[in-house]
């Protein structure tokens, strides 16, 4: 089971690579708004969901594809931690 730090690192790398090419890693902090900040749109969010499910072996429900759960790296880590518990 991955630690929170490992999860954040993996998700951050995925987002930087997939949606913010060329952006420095420090531009994406734990509280950077991803959905409400316009980094993730609906398709990008679905791609992120597919990544999370594949990488961490979790299953997300439709209502969890929401700013409440996926808006920041910290939110995502909290969700993943809860799923893996």
């Amino acid at each position: 089971m991955a630690t929170t730090d490992e999860m954040v690192r993996a998700v951050k790398a995925f987002i930087l690579d997939e949606f913010l090419p060329g952006e420095p890693a420090d531009s994406l902090a734990g509280d950077t708004p991803l959905i409400s900040g316009g980094i993730l749109d609906s398709i990008a969010t679905l791609k992120l969901v597919m990544f999370l499910e594949e990488k961490f072996g979790v299953v997300l429900a439709a209502h969890e594809v929401d700013k409440q759960y996926l808006d920041t790296l910290d939110d995502i880590a909290t969700l993943l931690a809860a799923k893996q518990r």
Binding site: D17, E18, F19, L20, P21, G22, E23, S27, A29, D31, T32, P33, S36, G37, G38, I39, D41, S42, I43, A44, L46, K47, M50, A61, A62, H63, V65, D66, K67, Q68
Partner: protein, 840 residues
């Protein structure tokens, strides 16, 4: 600690915003009152401890409902709303709550349709509908999935939120966002954003006024490429009203701590159809994502992600189409299902599906935030997206698909204005669209304190708007600019809507779903029993060129007034056909304002005129002013009526009446006659109509626009006919010749029967046109005596002279003014009228 001076500074700017609303008369009077309440409420709210703020906001919101709707309707909205909220919280399974809400909604729908009597007025439904029609779904969704249970004050604030009482069209605020973003940042920064969005909303609304009044033309008047480009562009720009209202709404909510996201973001600069969908009405997109798209996608993903994405996107656009009609039902009544809507949402849906598939398959490299360079590729994509959306929007807004198709025929008439406009739009589009504009206003992590310029900008913008609104200051040096600004300082109908309203006096507008917001604001005040004459027992159809007439000896109530006809089907006193000795007969023909729509039998201007001219008559002379007016009688119908019955009364003077909008009734009458295969019994008029080439309107077959396409269909053996809109367009082009031919026929018949023809230019209570209508000169050239009363209403209190706020026909006082002026004109022109010895 909140520095008092910053709250005072914000309040001062809100007062300036109120002054701008007042100077430009933006939105409704109700909105202004609610804004006053919001401004005062903001000051009190900002000084309260945090725990009292939400309850205070609820109290303020309820007060705004009372202010907007009055006590009875306001209490009804709150009470019915509480019933719906109560059902959401019943301790039964979610499915049962949904079914119970649906049943309650069904009962409300019966009230909305006025099928069941209710102690409140129908005015509550647009507001109650706006508060609950979508928010209930969002709220139930949150109840089902959110772990945190809602506090009563949050729920009440969510449903009854302050500006809703005066905005039936309201963004679909997400409940979780509403709750989560409440004072989640520095409060002064939230207030500052609110003020910025209020000012942005005001700018959008003023820009909308300009587009509506000066750019949005009547599709009937599109004759060249330039007209077409301007029309298509303006149709899309009219959306500024919605984005303006939504900015105002969310701005006001910010003043009470609700840090909601932007509702629209630079939607004219979208670089793809997916980008457009994400920038325009963002709340709707989020609502669809949450309740339709993701649930559909997750339900289908076992069949593969691509299929799930395609089907989920299609479901979203189908739901959007249906839910627009559902929204329409609560806001305006009726459930419009129009082909234009299906085509618009269908085509946009296909474009978004294609874009989604591309995005899913490839890594979507967002433009880095710091990139500021102009990009040719981005510019071309932005211009292309804007162009396609403009075209789709014009289809969505069209009265019918055929009207839209026929409209494009004007593209073949290339004019200098069209080429220049296209070139200018392309240049501006490429220059602006090539810049990498951000996809959304960042809901920043911890917002930095706004810079001095950001803080001052809203106030400076408001001061600039107030200066611009003070036209007296610069009308001497820039009269044209002052005139344009003055035209933006009141809400009035543009040419297209004025024509539609005029048409609506005579017909039940069958396509209410296409009415502009401006026209709807006027027409929605009309009571249900305010029906056109053609729908009453006092009117009957005929199958000849006249088409219809008043029923003899009818006695009804029409527009709340007694309405009687005599033995001859005239709205007049009892008359004898044979002219008594010593009598001078003045026959007055014309449409509704001659017939006397909205005034009693004794208050028509013909009745009053008869008394006046008889008071001035020579000894032994008696005048009879015969009222042949019938609502919706065009000039061509007046010609037919002259022949059919007027000449039998041996009039000495025949007065034909029409307004500056005489073209449309003539076009409609002739098109109906030709379409029904009715012969036009006036050779000159019949020839002119034949020259327009509209004979294929009467053919049997499928409607196909343009001669060339009909020829192709004919070669393929497909029977075709000319579509109605093409016939209308051709007749409009030929209208000056049609009107002149009608006048010549009128004059010929009048002279043949020894009557002097008079053309009376008389409008309902509206400002005169800027230029004298061409028909006045045509009438003079044809040998008519011309009475021009188009300036009669100028400089007078129009409201005091109209029969109702929603109907501009002259009331009894207006009819008195008409009679007074006509009596003077008849005396002044007695020689030309052959009445020199008839007046004292």
């Amino acid at each position: 600690m909140r520095p008092w001076w910053r709250i005072a500074f914000l309040t001062l700017q809100l007062v300036l915003a109120l002054f701008v609303m007042y100077r430009f008369r933006l939105e409704s009077r109700t909105f202004f009152h609610v804004m006053l309440l919001a401004t005062g409420g903001f000051v009190v709210h900002s000084q309260l401890p945090l725990r009292f703020r939400q309850p205070f906001f609820v109290a303020l919101s309820v007060a705004s409902i009372i202010v907007a709707l009055g006590w009875l309707d306001g209490i009804a909205v709150v009470a019915l709303g509480l019933v719906l909220i109560g059902i959401c919280h019943l301790r039964i399974a979610l499915l049962w709550r949904v079914l119970l809400l649906a049943a309650t909604g069904g009962l409300f729908a019966l009230w909305r349709l006025e099928l069941v009597p209710a102690p409140w007025s129908v005015a509550i439904w647009p507001i109650l509908g706006a508060m609950f029609m979508f928010r209930l779904a969002v709220y139930l969704y949150a109840l089902a999935h959110d772990e945190k249970k809602p506090a009563p004050a949050v729920t009440l604030a969510y449903f009854f939120m302050l500006p809703n009482a005066c905005f039936p069209l309201f963004p679909v605020v997400d409940y979780s966002t509403f709750r989560r973003t409440y004072y989640d940042r520095d409060e002064l920064a939230i207030y500052q954003t609110g003020l910025k969005w209020i000012v942005r909303g005001l700018v959008h609304l003023i820009a909308y006024r300009f587009v509506y009044a000066h750019l949005a033309s009547d599709p009937a008047d599109i004759r060249s490429l330039g007209d077409l480009v301007q029309f298509v562009l303006a149709t899309f720009l009219l959306y500024l009203r919605v984005s303006g209202q939504f900015h105002l709404i969310t701005g006001i909510l910010h003043l009470f701590g609700y840090r909601l996201p932007e509702t629209h973001h630079l939607y004219y600069l979208a670089s793809s159809f997916n980008d457009f969908w994400r920038r325009i009405n963002i709340y709707w997109k989020d609502f669809m994502m949450k309740l339709v798209y993701y649930p559909s996608f997750f339900a289908l993903r076992r069949h593969g992600n691509t299929l799930a994405l395609v089907v989920a996107t299609i479901v979203v656009f189908a739901a959007t189409w249906i839910l627009h009609s559902y929204q329409w039902f609560w806001l305006r009544g009726g459930f419009p299902i129009e082909p234009q809507d299906g085509l618009f949402w269908g085509l946009l849906g296909v474009l978004v599906v294609v874009g989604s598939l591309r995005e899913l398959r490839k890594s979507r490299s967002r433009v880095p935030a710091r990139a500021t360079g102009w990009s040719a590729s981005l510019a071309l994509r932005t211009v292309g997206t804007f162009t396609v959306i403009c075209v789709l929007w014009s289809l969505w807004s069209a009265q019918s698909v055929m009207e839209w198709l026929v409209m494009w025929g004007a593209a073949g008439t290339v004019d200098a204005y069209g080429v220049a406009l296209l070139a200018a739009l392309l240049a501006v589009g490429l220059a602006v669209g090539g810049k990498p504009w951000p996809v959304g206003e960042s809901q920043a992590r911890a917002p930095a304190r706004p810079s001095s310029m950001q803080t001052l900008l809203p106030g400076l913008t408001l001061i600039a708007l107030i200066v611009v609104a003070s036209t007296d200051w610069y009308s001497g040096v820039a009269p044209r600019a002052a005139e344009i600004v003055a035209s933006l300082q009141h809400s009035t109908l543009n040419a297209r809507d004025a024509n539609l309203q005029h048409k609506g006096y005579y017909e039940n507008l069958d396509n209410a779903s296409r009415q502009s917001a401006q026209l709807w604001d006027v027409r929605s005040q009309k009571p249900a029993d305010w029906i056109p004459l053609g729908s009453t027992a006092a009117y009957r159809s005929r199958t000849d060129f006249l088409g219809g007439e008043l029923v003899p000896d009818a006695h009804i109530v029409f527009m709340s007034q007694s309405f009687s006809t005599n033995d001859f089907g005239m709205r007049d006193a009892p008359r004898q056909k044979a002219k008594p000795a010593g009598t001078i007969r003045i026959a007055v023909l014309g449409p509704s304002h001659v017939m006397g729509s909205g005034v009693g039998d004794d208050a028509t201007f013909t009745r009053l005129l008869e008394s006046r001219v008889n008071a001035a008559a020579s000894p032994g002379v008696r005048f009879e002013v015969l009222n042949f007016g019938v609502a919706a009688y065009s000039l061509t119908k007046q010609l037919a009526q002259l022949d059919d019955r007027v000449v039998a009364f041996a009039p000495d003077v025949v007065v034909f009446t029409d307004s500056p909008r005489l073209r449309e009734p003539v076009v409609q009458h002739v098109a109906q006659a030709v379409g029904a295969g009715v012969a036009i019994p006036y050779p000159e008029l019949a020839r002119t109509v034949a020259d327009t080439g509209i004979a294929p309107l009467a053919s049997r077959g499928i409607p196909v626009p343009f001669d060339s396409l009909r020829s192709v269909a004919h070669l393929l053996g497909i029977p075709t006919r000319m579509p109605w809109h093409e016939a209308e367009r051709r007749l409009r082009y030929a209208s000056p010749r049609l009107i002149r031919a009608t006048l010549d026929e009128m004059k010929g018949i009048a002279k043949q029967h020894g009557a002097v023809p008079v053309f009376l230019a008389l409008d309902i209570v509206e400002e005169p046109p800027d230029e004298p209508p061409a028909v006045l000169q045509s009438a003079r050239d044809a040998g008519f005596v011309v009475f021009d009363l188009l300036d009669l209403w100028h400089g007078r209190d129009a409201q005091a002279l109209r029969i109702a706020e929603w109907d501009n026909h002259p009331n009894a006082e207006g009819n008195r003014l008409i009679a007074e002026r006509l009596a003077v004109l008849l005396r002044d022109h007695r020689a030309a009228l052959g009445l020199a010895s008839s007046f004292r």
